[in-house]
Symmetry: C2
Subunit: 359 residues, 2 copies
């Protein structure tokens, strides 16, 4: 790497920031420049516990990170309700933004963020790590192959985990003033993104929430699901939960092919991930042929480090070469949020069908 690494500032000491700090350390074109927390002690402890370079600045506020001229980009894992304020301020300070999901409480908020990024010429990307795994590219190639997969007809995604009683009392993801979308914004975000990804980011026409969502005492969603339908006849369903054992399956069925992943959100192993695919299966004698093939995809870097590397590459091409920010990332982030919002609206309307982006 002849180019200077992109220098990251981190806003807050969220648990997920440990993973992304490690990713920044491992990405060849990125470095950790600063961390800020409302408590400087907490920030110092976080820096020392997570292998920050000695050169990294430690601040007692988020503002200080944004004011640091040596910070090129910020990673924002703050509670969702704080995203508008800090992402907009970061954009105004010309910091590129890697924004943790859920990116906003609704699409109106997200539009404020995206507008700020656009008018300040900074790159925006949501931190959906699995998008960047090389397995994802191979699966995309499979789904896009008319012979091997054909037309997409049905998708099912599920992301659940059971973080236990302490999480359900104390975590920000179940607090109405911090992450009001609860499980829908957290685990549901991945399910919806996977469906949109499989549908090549074509927005569904309608969304209908499934019955029986579960809520905590404050009305925050702990589990829910929905069906999505497209005008071309495709259908998708998803389910997400904070009350169910870890499950992260994705099943795509096409006219000519089948794809299944057991661990689409976070591969069970860091260095190799697999998916199952079958094409043109037929009943032969008393069974079927061919049976699904297990495809293994190796990676040197974990997917979160590849995400950081790709984000940093885009930032470097803006800062160094004067290119425009890559629009793909804000576009698919906004589509994901539109579907999140529609699911929420359908839940609020007793599971009535809701037109995406129009209710």
């Amino acid at each position: 790497m002849s180019e200077k690494p992109v220098r990251f500032g981190i806003l807050g000491c969220a648990s997920i920031a440990r993973k992304i700090s490690r990713a920044i350390n491992r990405a060849p074109n990125a470095s950790i420049q600063a961390i800020g927390s409302r408590s400087i002690d907490k920030a110092s402890r976080f820096a020392s516990e997570n292998g920050f370079p000695a050169s990294a600045a430690v601040y007692g506020s988020y503002e200080a990170v944004l004011d640091d001229p040596d910070v090129d980009a910020v990673y924002v894992p703050l509670p969702t309700s704080l995203h508008v304020k800090w992402a907009v301020l970061a954009a105004e300070k010309k910091k590129h933004i890697l924004l943790e999901k859920p990116v906003a409480l609704n699409v109106s908020e997200l539009d404020v963020i995206l507008q700020a990024c656009e008018s300040n010429g900074v790159q925006y990307m949501d931190a959906t790590m699995w998008m960047h795994h090389p397995r994802t590219a191979q699966m995309r190639e499979f789904l896009s192959d008319p012979q091997r997969f054909g037309q997409l007809k049905s998708v099912h995604s599920i992301f659940c985990y059971n973080p236990g009683p302490d999480f359900l009392i104390n975590d920000i993801r179940i607090k109405p003033d911090l992450d009001g979308l609860g499980c829908l914004g957290d685990a549901g975000w991945y399910c919806i993104r996977a469906i949109l990804w499989a549908a090549d980011y074509q927005l569904p026409e309608r969304v209908t929430a499934l019955p029986n969502p579960e809520f905590n005492e404050s009305g925050v969603i702990l589990s829910c699901g929905a069906s999505l339908s497209w005008t071309d006849g495709k259908i998708a369903t998803f389910y997400c939960s904070f009350l169910t054992n870890l499950t992260m399956d994705l099943t795509c069925a096409g006219t000519n092919g089948y794809l299944h992943v057991h661990d689409f959100v976070i591969p069970f192993q860091e260095k190799v991930a697999s998916f199952y695919g079958a094409s043109n299966s037929r009943w032969v004698n008393f069974g079927c042929e061919p049976t699904p093939t297990k495809h293994k995809v190796a990676t040197d870097l974990p997917h979160e480090a590849i995400m950081v590397r790709e984000f940093a590459r885009l930032v470097a091409s803006i800062e160094g070469n004067g290119l425009e920010p890559e629009k793909k990332w804000p576009i698919i982030s906004r589509k994901t949020q539109l579907v999140v919002d529609a699911v929420k609206a359908s839940i609020d309307r007793a599971f009535e069908p809701v037109e995406v982006g129009n209710y």
Copy 2:
């Protein structure tokens, strides 16, 4: 085996009867006694092509099979619209009935069949083969374990195949006068049975069809899906299709466990079948532990032969030992039909939620 084998008569020469003929030949307590078809030539050809014993009778009508005093039980793979007539007649002739699915066009028809079986003291079983695979028993044990699986929260099942243009023009499964339920009665039957099986046969309260079912020109369902909900908060979804590559996945998520099968309807291999299970998975460092374990279950006999063996065992215990017919099979068959009917009703009512058994 000291006991005499149960002697089967087969009504008609449906393609699936080839598989069940082989199963009867392989089951240690069953034998093929007769086959009847409207065309005696067709019946003769079927008998010789499918390894029938020389002693097997070949008849030019279904009645003749039912009138053969050496026939103990009949296997009925006729088009669904003929089930009431021939199953009732078989019961009246004191023949035990292994009935191909879909068992009836609706629960009223099925009740006529079940009533005839009950009043004539004959065993009834629907021919849902995977129920009898030893893998199914092992999966049941896993799902019933409070530590390893806990409370069932979500189920998704999908059974699709793409039989191609000839099927879509000529097969009985797409003819409104023969199998009016189309794909819902065929592939959907398996999906619904799998969900009920996972829910320990507790009927869902409500069923809501998914948008975008596909129909042929005669209005027969070629693809559809539904969500099912229970009063305890469980949720299930399924999708079935004649227009999509072979897919037969089942995913069950419980509070403490996860179960996935790639091939729940027909295992990819006859002699060994597998499923994936995980329990009490937790985020550990940057991944999760434990990851799902692949459980392999070996079987000497294919599942359809085990089904025949179990059916014949029940028949022998009625005929030989004077026991009552096993009620489990009519009960779960009726529950499956109730859900099939509710899905059909929801489709007919533009995807309105429908109370199961009450519309």
